[in-house]
Structure formats: structure tokens, C-alpha cells
Amino acid sequence: MSITRRRALQLGGAAAVLAFTGGIARAGDNGGEILRQWYKVVLMLVRHTATYSPPVASRAFAYLGVAAYQAVASGSTSLVSLAGQLNGLKALPPRDPSKRYSDAVIAHCVMASAVKTFFGNTGPTGQRVMAAAEKKLKGDALQGLPDGVIAASLAYGETLQAAIIGWSQDDGGAVIENMGFPMDYPVSKEPGHWAPTSPIRMQQFPLLPKWGQNRTFAMPSGASCGLPPPPLYSEDPNSDFVKQAKEVYDVTTHLTPEQIAIARFWSDDPMLSFTPPGHWIAIAHDLLEQENAGLDKSAEVMMRLGVAMADGFIGCWNAKFRYDYVRPVTVIKKLIDAKWEPLLITPPFPEYPSGHSTGSGAAAAVLTAIYGENFAFTDRSHARDGLGERKFPSFAAAAEEAGISRMYGGIHFRPAIEQGLVQGRCIAQFAIGLRTRSST
């Protein structure tokens, strides 16, 4: 399906043209472009901020998306506030009806402030980038606007972002210490349970073991989309446990160039990429850029996507630490081939379910709800890393490839992939169900 024939936002059922209360509509409104520029900055910061593992990144994407969405919704008669719909989000400060505002300036302001909050711990180069981006995008947003509109919009933007940041502080994910690795943790000695897989000292304990207990955004709790248990540990060659390990071994010892390319394309390693949730944000960013989407749609897409993936990682981590399942490298080295090495770096936390699968399942479900089934697209998000581009007939197909890439990479068994996708699709329904249009 081409971009020109796609549906407008399905979920709200409203036309893309929004009515603004007290807002200033300019010809060639650049709010959507400014928001996307901020997301481009955010994607770089995710890659280059040391605490930004996939769960942490997903959380930031959710709050940034909500902030951007509320920047528009606060002045719209057709968009509905998320207050009362998202867990813990109470009524947000309203605009002053006697004043005139610019949605683009408010969106810029909330993004600039929120980015500084969520990435305040980035390095000196990131700090420099944030300052340069704020200066440039502020100039773009303010261009041609009356002083009174600018002043009111900036002031409201600061008020709104303060409320959003305040909401974020007690969700359980605001403070990341030691790059997310606990200083102590009771690692199980029982077979079939997670064991450290890296020679890196800080990774002898698993990443973010309490993340699954964080406050969720749209779904009731981290356990809302629970999964069946993975195969029980067994050393019986005919057991499901050994069979799944043998499958990984067989596949990875006969990888085709295409399978290697797929594994690398979806590897999305922290610190070396914008992480799995960032990968989907990058896909959405490019789609919005291609259609030159306005601020309202850009914000809503990023909000739904961010909320779905953040809930996805909470749900995934909830299950990971419930089952505390062993990684393929541990099993294969013990039972099949002591010299076997996976293509990808094994992530330092339990195996089941696959985080990329849950996150991708959630992301694909949201984007499918917005853009439709069988929406073909080209993913160029890793072009600068020399990984080329990949074409997909649908978001679901992309998610399935993201999932199976983890088997090609040798870091997940099949059940973790398949159940991860199921879990992601389940969790996404809560984000898809958020009411954004007053007409529905």
C-alpha cells in the first residue's frame, strides 16, 4: 500500500485536520517537522547515553510521546487528554483561554525540556548536541510568531513538561544506577536458570531485575499479558528443552548470508545503536517524514508507539524474571558443543521471552492499527551503520523478522520469540485502546 493511499489515523476515527482552541495556525506549520527533528536527536542520545538499555529507552520514548501528544491535545477540541487513561497521570495543567498559543512552540518546549531531563546524564558531546538542537529548533519554532504567543507558549510548555516529568518520577524507572546492573543479586545455581554469559564483570548480575515491577502506562500491570512457561530443563535429547537448543545450534551453524544480514540488521545493541525500541521509533520517524505529517499525527503516532513499547518491555521483564530462563549459549556449550559461539553478543539477562520480540510485536501492532494491514515499507534506519536497508510487506512481517533474528543471532530459543511476539501484540492493545479523539 502506498503512502498516499494509507488510512488516516484509524483509532480516533477523526480527520487529520484538527481544530485548535486559541491556537495559531500558520501556513506551512512546521510543528511536525520540529517534533521529528527532536526525535532524531533523541535517537542519537539513546545510542550515546550509557544508561540507555532497551527498557530504559522504551520508557523515555513513552514519556516523550505523551509529552508531545499533550502539547497538542492541550489546545485541541478534538484530541482527548490522556489524563485518567494512563496509570498515575492526573489532570494536566490547562492552557489559559485568554491567551493565544502555538502548538509547535509548546511541542518544542516540552521536548527540549523533557529531553534535557531524560538525557541529563548523557556525556559532554550529547550535552553539546542538546544545546545546539534546542537553539536551532527553537529558532525554527518561533519564527514569525508574535512575542505574546511565544511567551505564552513557552511558559505553558514549561508548565506542561514539569507535570509530565513529575508524573514520571515515581514509576520505578527514573533512577538507573550502575548502568542498570545491580550491585548484588542472587543468581540461581539451578540448571535451566539464567547464568552470566559475559566476561564483563558488571554483567555477572542481570540487567534491571526489577523493571517488570515498574508502573505501566496503559496496561494494568507488568503481569497483564502473562505467558505460558518455557520448556522445562532437561538433558534428555528427546526433550523439548534440548530440541529447542539443538534447533538454535543447527540453525546457527549453517547460517546463510541472508540470515546473518537479518541478525545484524536487528541486533540493535545498546550503545552501538538506538536499541530495539529506538529501531521502531526510527521506522515511524521515517514514515512520518515521508508523508510530511503534521504535529498532531506525529505526536499521536509517537505516543502510541512509545506507550506500547514501554509497556511491552515492562511486561517482558516481568516474565523474564518470573521464569529466569537460561540462554542458549549456556545450554549449547554444556550439552551440545563447548566451542560454539553465537553470532550476536548474548544480552546479560534472562532469556524468556525475547525482549526484541515483545517490543517488536507491540510496535508492529500499533503501527498496523495506524497505517493498516499489509502496509509495505522500507527500513533504512541502519543505513549509516553500513547495514543497508530492508523491505517489508507489513509491520507484522518486520516484527517476525526481528523475532527470528534472535535465533539467527544465537541468543534466543524459538519459544521466546514466538511467545514474545504474542505478548507484544497483547500488550499493544492497551495502547491502541487509548482514546484520543473526542468523537469516539
Binding site: 548536541v129 538542537a133 550502575n178 550491585m183 566476561p199 558488571m202 549509516r384 553500513g386
Partner: protein, 534 residues
């Protein structure tokens, strides 16, 4: 010139050089920063967040190593070494012609082979190749020698003499494009290689070493004992896209060629910041230590050949079993992950086993990493494992350290320490280890352009073991040395010394007495004893 050593795994530790419990001698240092005469601070804005190096070399033929210290946004400072033999460390500020601003680090290199040390100054902007004129004076030689200073943000250097050349081949590593405010990541400026000009003095135009991945250290090193060094790079993953650690095969008359997966080169992506080599297991192949953030690597060949065949450049990480991960502060209350920079192997207690110094310091107010990050002095025990002794030795500075020089500044046979800090004074420590073992120190001389025999291997044998050091120019973190090659020899009263001169086989052994300096001249059958002035 810095030196890397190879210690035999069978080296026995003398009773004198060991603690009663069997552990290594605890080194002892006295900080003499305030009385040393050195008052230098590496500082500056964003473009000086990396760098902060020092070059240690003798510029006035008194045998004592003088020091150039980069100043970042401020001019570099040069100090004459006024220490006396075995005395306190004393330096005197001296106007040398090297006092450039925007300097990130520097390395000594006698590029023109006239026996007077020249200096390569790495800068944010144009790099300088400064010709030594004698008596610690230097003059710009970029134009005379065809040295391409460029206009990059230079953060790494290495040099070698390719076989048959009278002039060196110089590699310069460049960081990101400093003009990129909005998208600096992925903007690594190409690294360059300058080879000698055909048939004359100086250099041919530079070759770009692409792809370039923002190295913070480079080292020409003979990793496979082929007699021809290759170029290793420690690359900073913070800034490259699609990059990894690299090693270039550099062969005379041929374009540089990157080692690839098909050759056995293993994929590794870290915040590579410093590089040092040393054969710790006595198999004849060097291990390589690479500094990073939250973790440090010690690489050993995965499958070292036992039949004399050529190894594949496939390394595995043995930092943890060797005890050198140094991933977080070992003392204090700030236990966030560490940030590691300069790294060097030196035997600080003269027991015949190489020890490891690592300079630590936050990049710049990065709250997820330790702000009080003590430097490490990891002392090797006879079991091959390293034990942290920086606090006991008195060198556990928690300033924001960057580069360093480990050299025998007062010529008493003990390796002293100078550490360059960012936004804090450079610190100096004198090694006063009371129970240290015996030692020898040598300098190499040979005819031709490569007068200091960069690329040579020096072997020292005593009844208790064998050590070998590679004479290199590069590595560490923007810091280099050219001076006495130091060996601890434990209780031995003498040692048998031989040299594998660059491009040649091992020479005949010579016997040197313990606790002596000697000049090894390739043209002479015997070593020349040297004695420092009192």
C-alpha cells in the same frame, strides 16, 4: 618510544623480592608534585575532553628524561629534568619552541635520524612535527619534511620504520569532526599514514586509512613475531558507526590492508582509549591491554600456534582471570563504573614481572561514571594474576587523569610516575620501593635513520627467567617515551642481554652487571657502560 616486555612464565621470584606471604613486593611511591617544579594543567572545553598527554625523552644528552606536557586550550609546557641521581624529582620550566596551544598529546621521535630527538605534537587543529635542534630547542619542520599537519582533532599516533627506509612511517589517528554540532556521531575524520618520500628526506603525501573509527590510541607492534609490525588501533565506539577495533597490515611498498574476519580478526566494539602490549604468558606472543569504560580488556591469542606457524589475529579476553578488569573504583565510596585512559606495562618493583598502570578519570561530569576514580597500579604476582596496589603504593590519585609517563626520572633503577590530569595539576611520584629487586637499563643505537631502533626486541636472561621488550613509538593515551629500557631482574647479579634489531635476527648475547646502565650499539660487540652524573 615506549617499551613493552615479555616475561617468561617460568620466571621465579626471589625471596628478597617477595612478601613473606608469597605475594609481590608492595611498591612505594612518594608524591613530589609540589616540590618537583612541574606546574601544568591540561584543560579546555569540549574538544579537550580526550587527550592530555605527555612526552618523556632526553633532549640534552644528560641521560635524564625531560618532559613535554600538553595543555589543551592553554600552551603546552616543557620541563628540563634537573633531578640528581637517586634524588628527589626536580624539573625546571624551559622555553623549547614546543609551547603550542591546542595540544592533546605528544610523542618523541627522531624522524630525521640525526641523533637529536624530534617531537610529534598532536593537536586540535594542525599537528606539528618539530625538529630537535639540540639543547632542548625545537623548530617546525612540517614544510621541510612534507609532514601533513592536517586540521583534525588528533588523538592517536604511532610510528615505525618499514624495512629499508631511513625515514619513519607515521600514523595519525583522528577523532570526530569538531565542527559538527548537531550530528557529531559518525563523523570520524580519516586517519592518515605518512610514508617516507622516495629517494629523499621527509614524507610523501598522506594516505587515508579508511574506514576510520575515531581511535584514541595506535600502536605499531609485531604481534605475530613476523619481524614486521602491524598497526593496531583502539577505537572509541562512542563516535563511530559500523565500526570496531582495527588492525592494519602495513607492508613495505604495499597499500595498508585491514585485517578482516576472514583473516581471523574478531569483532570487538568498545570505548577503546588506550593500548599497550606485553607477553605475559611467555609464549612469545604479546598480550594487548585496551582501556575502555566500565571494563578493560586484556587480549591473548585464542589459538597461539605451538609449531612455529603464523598465528591468526584472533584474540580472547583474559582480563578477568588475570585480575585487570579495573572496571570500577577499588577504593572510596564512589563505586560507579570507571573510565580508563593511559595504560602501560612497567616493572615497578623490579621483581622481573611486568606490572600495569592505568590512568582513570571521568570524561566530563558524566554522572553514571565514577567522579572519584582512582588510578590503578596492578602488580603482577608469580601466578600471573595482578593485585591492586595503587593505594598501598601511594599513587591512587582520584584526580581526572588522562595521560602518563612511567620512566626512571632520577636514574635510580626504579620506574617513577608522572600523570597528566584534566583540570587539575599534573602529578609526579618518585618510586622509593625499599625492597625492590635489581635492575638494568639499556639504550639502543644503530646506524641509519632508525637510530633508536624502533621495532627492536630486547631480551634479558637471568638464572631465574627471561624477559623480552619491544621498543615501540606509540600507544598509551597520547603519551610516549623514549629513554632507558628498564628491566627488573630480581636477585640476579648480572643478566645476559641480546637484541633483535629491526628487520634482522637476534644478535649475540652480552653480559651486563646488575644495577647498571648500558648503551647497546649495533656496530659494537660490547655494551658501553654509562653512569649518570651525581
Amino acid at each position: 618510544m615506549r617499551t613493552f616486555a615479555i616475561a617468561s612464565a617460568t620466571l621465579l621470584i626471589s625471596a628478597r623480592a617477595a612478601l613473606a606471604g608469597g605475594g609481590p613486593v608492595v611498591p612505594s611511591f612518594v608524591e613530589e608534585t609540589k616540590t618537583s617544579g612541574i606546574a601544568s594543567v591540561y584543560s579546555g572545553e569540549w574538544q579537550y575532553m580526550v587527550g592530555g598527554g605527555a612526552a618523556a625523552f632526553d633532549c640534552n644528552d644528560d641521560g635524564f628524561e625531560d618532559v613535554l606536557i600538553a595543555g589543551g586550550g592553554k600552551p603546552a609546557t616543557f620541563y628540563l629534568n634537573k633531578s640528581t641521581h637517586g634524588g628527589a624529582l626536580k624539573f625546571e620550566k624551559h622555553t623549547s619552541g614546543l609551547e603550542f596551544d591546542a595540544m592533546t598529546g605528544a610523542y618523541p621521535l627522531d624522524a630525521d635520524g640525526d641523533g637529536i630527538m624530534d617531537v610529534v605534537a598532536l593537536r586540535v587543529g594542525e599537528n606539528m612535527l618539530m625538529k630537535g635542534k639540540g639543547n632542548c630547542q625545537f623548530a617546525r619542520a612540517n614544510e621541510d619534511w612534507g609532514f601533513a599537519g592536517g586540521d583534525g582533532w588528533s588523538t592517536a599516533y604511532a610510528a615505525t620504520w618499514e624495512n629499508g627506509n631511513d625515514w619513519p612511517t607515521i600514523a595519525i589517528g583522528n577523532y570526530i569532526d569538531r565542527t559538527e554540532e548537531l550530528e557529531p556521531w559518525g563523523s570520524c575524520t580519516p586517519n592518515v599514514l605518512q610514508r617516507p618520500r622516495d629517494g629523499g628526506k621527509g614524507f610523501a603525501p598522506p594516505l587515508e586509512l579508511k574506514p576510520s573509527y575515531c581511535p584514541l590510541s595506535m600502536l605499531f607492534t609485531d604481534w605475530n613475531n613476523s619481524g614486521t609490525p602491524d598497526l593496531r588501533m583502539a577505537n572509541d565506539r562512542e563516535y563511530y558507526e559500523g565500526g570496531q577495533e582495527q588492525m592494519w597490515q602495513v607492508r613495505p611498498g604495499q597499500p595498508p590492508k585491514l585485517y578482516r574476519k576472514e583473516d581471523g580478526w574478531a569483532y570487538l566494539r568498545i570505548w577503546g582509549m588506550g593500548l599497550a602490549g606485553y607477553d605475559l604468558d611467555g609464549d612469545g606472543f604479546q598480550e594487548y591491554a585496551i582501556t575502555s569504560m566500565a571494563d578493560n580488556k586484556l587480549q591473548t591469542l585464542k589459538e597461539p600456534p605451538k609449531d612455529g606457524s603464523a598465528p591468526k589475529p584472533t584474540y580472547k579476553d583474559v582480563a578477568w582471570p588475570r585480575g585487570v578488569t579495573a572496571h570500577r573504583p577499588f577504593m572510596g565510596t564512589d563505586l560507579k563504573p570507571s573510565t580508563a585512559w593511559h595504560i602501560d606495562f612497567q616493572d615497578v618493583n623490579n621483581d622481573g614481572l611486568a606490572d600495569l598502570f592505568i590512568a582513570k578519570g571521568n570524561v566530563s561530569e558524566m554522572p553514571d561514571f565514577a567522579m572519584k576514580d582512582p588510578n590503578n597500579l596492578l602488580v603482577q604476582g608469580k601466578d600471573g594474576k595482578f593485585i591492586e596496589m595503587a593505594d598501598k603504593a601511594g599513587v591512587a590519585s582520584t584526580e581526572t587523569s588522562r595521560g602518563a609517563a612511567l620512566a626512571d626520572f632520577n636514574l635510580d633503577g626504579l620506574v617513577d610516575l608522572l600523570v597528566v590530569n584534566r583540570n587539575a595539576p599534573t602529578q609526579v611520584w618518585r618510586n622509593v620501593t625499599p625492597a625492590a629487586g635489581n635492575w638494568i637499563e639499556v639504550k639502543l643505537r644503530q646506524p641509519g635513520g632508525n637510530v633508536n631502533a624502533i621495532g627492536a626486541m630486547v631480551e634479558v636472561k637471568t638464572p631465574t627467567g627471561r624477559q623480552t621488550r619491544e621498543v615501540v613509538s606509540g600507544g598509551g593515551h597520547v603519551s610516549g617515551q623514549s629513554g632507558w629500557v628498564h628491566f627488573g631482574i630480581g636477585d640476579a647479579k648480572q643478566a645476559e642481554v641480546r637484541v633483535r634489531w629491526p628487520g634482522e635476527d637476534w644478535g649475540k648475547p652480552m653480559t651486563l652487571g646488575a644495577n647498571r646502565f648500558a648503551v647497546l650499539d649495533k656496530t659494537k660487540a660490547e655494551a658501553e657502560a654509562w653512569t649518570p652524573n651525581p
